[in-house]
Amino acid sequence: MRNLFQFLFRHFQYILFFLLEIFSGVLIVKESSFHQSAYINSSNQFIGNILEKQHAIKSFIYLRKENDSLAAENARLRGEQPYSLIASRDSFRITTDSNKRPAFKYIAAQVMNNEVNKINNYIVLNKGLKNGVRKNMGVVCDKGVVGIVKDVSDDFCVVISLLNSKSKVGVRIKEGNYVSMLWEGYDATTTSIYDLPKHIKIKKNDTVFTSGESWFYPPNLMVGTVKDFELKNGKNFYDIKVKLSNDFYALNNVYIVQSLLRAQTDTLLSKIHDE
């Protein structure tokens, strides 16, 4: 017994080294899983507050640019208002369309912290539980898709960026053909699609839209354009590179998408899985 203690004491630093490495290894695995999160991460209140202070300085520097992009978006939305439309007939009336009902609600948020050059990038936003943000909500901005909410605290949330090796967005190229878009960790402006079958004809600069089939994001939102594609010998699927329309280097104002219908599809699907 004494020998054992002596042994432990003499090699204490090696044992400590292995213990610490095992503990961090467990942390790595925990953090890299999609739905589970570590005990402390950047949605934590304390960390969030530090990031918010930093954001206050940064946003002041970029104020001008942000104003311009918000003004542009306002102008576009104003163009879609009823009063800016000219009647095409002499008599008309404006009705709320009873054929349609809202399927998505949006929560405006600002980016507190944004990463683009890791393999797994995360974004911190300044809206949390108090503002109605929940796990697994999609996040978009005026130019495209941003990511999915991973973790929420009272005032902040952490978003799995589209630029994350685990992100996978349901998209379609032009009409139909639901495929999934992946990011490979090289370049913050480019993503890849590997499951479009070869009998479908595509061209360069074809537009890529969200498919909306999983209700994370609204359908028909532009994501990017086909930058390059290739059909390798003997393969049944294209290798497609997509140029993102969204500039991840200059991300500030984003919208968290609350899908009003996803709860229903989710419960239906989980019933099937339970059986």
Partner: protein, 159 residues
């Protein structure tokens, strides 16, 4: 602490293409006092790596590579510096070891840190060349940053 805040608030915002992300906080491990027992060094490095990682949701990765770096440190020190040189020195710095020796010391340890960090981050060999270039460039950049920072700091204390 200053090291940590500088890393998190300033350096994490500098984006030099996807190929280069320098880290400044390994300096903390490089400058730990020589007389400090190894177990304390390991624990402190773990704390440093963990807290840097919190800000980018990768505390495991940072802690893992920083602890490995701290573990390798005594071996590198005994290999690089003769016993007599380090006997009465409390902590290493450019002034005490000379420019070249310190650069070499910093470079080797940062290379260890970055190699483990980026390999564990990708966790596959599919993008081998990309990762390899990333490791080399980031290591050079981090070493440069740390040496320049250390130089400025040295000047200030001498004055």
């Amino acid at each position: 602490m200053g090291c940590l805040l500088f890393q998190v608030l300033v350096l994490n915002n500098i984006q030099l293409t996807g190929l280069m992300n320098p880290y400044y906080y390994p300096l903390f491990v490089l400058l730990l006092p020589l007389q400090m027992p190894q177990w304390a060094c390991l624990l402190l490095s773990f704390g440093m790596g963990y807290s840097v990682g919190i800000f980018s949701n990768s505390s495991g990765l940072h802690a893992f590579s920083t602890v490995a770096m701290a573990f390798a440190r005594p071996f590198v020190i005994t290999a690089l510096f003769p016993k007599t040189e380090t006997e009465d020195v409390e902590e290493l710095s450019i002034g005490k070891t000379g420019m070249l020796n310190f650069i070499l010391y910093a470079f080797i340890l940062i290379l260890i840190h970055h190699f483990i960090f980026f390999v564990a981050e990708v966790w596959s060999f599919t993008q081998f060349y990309f990762t390899f270039i990333k490791i080399v460039l980031s290591t050079l950049m981090s070493t440069l940053l740390i040496i320049v920072g250390e130089y400025l700091f040295l000047r200030k204390t001498l004055r």
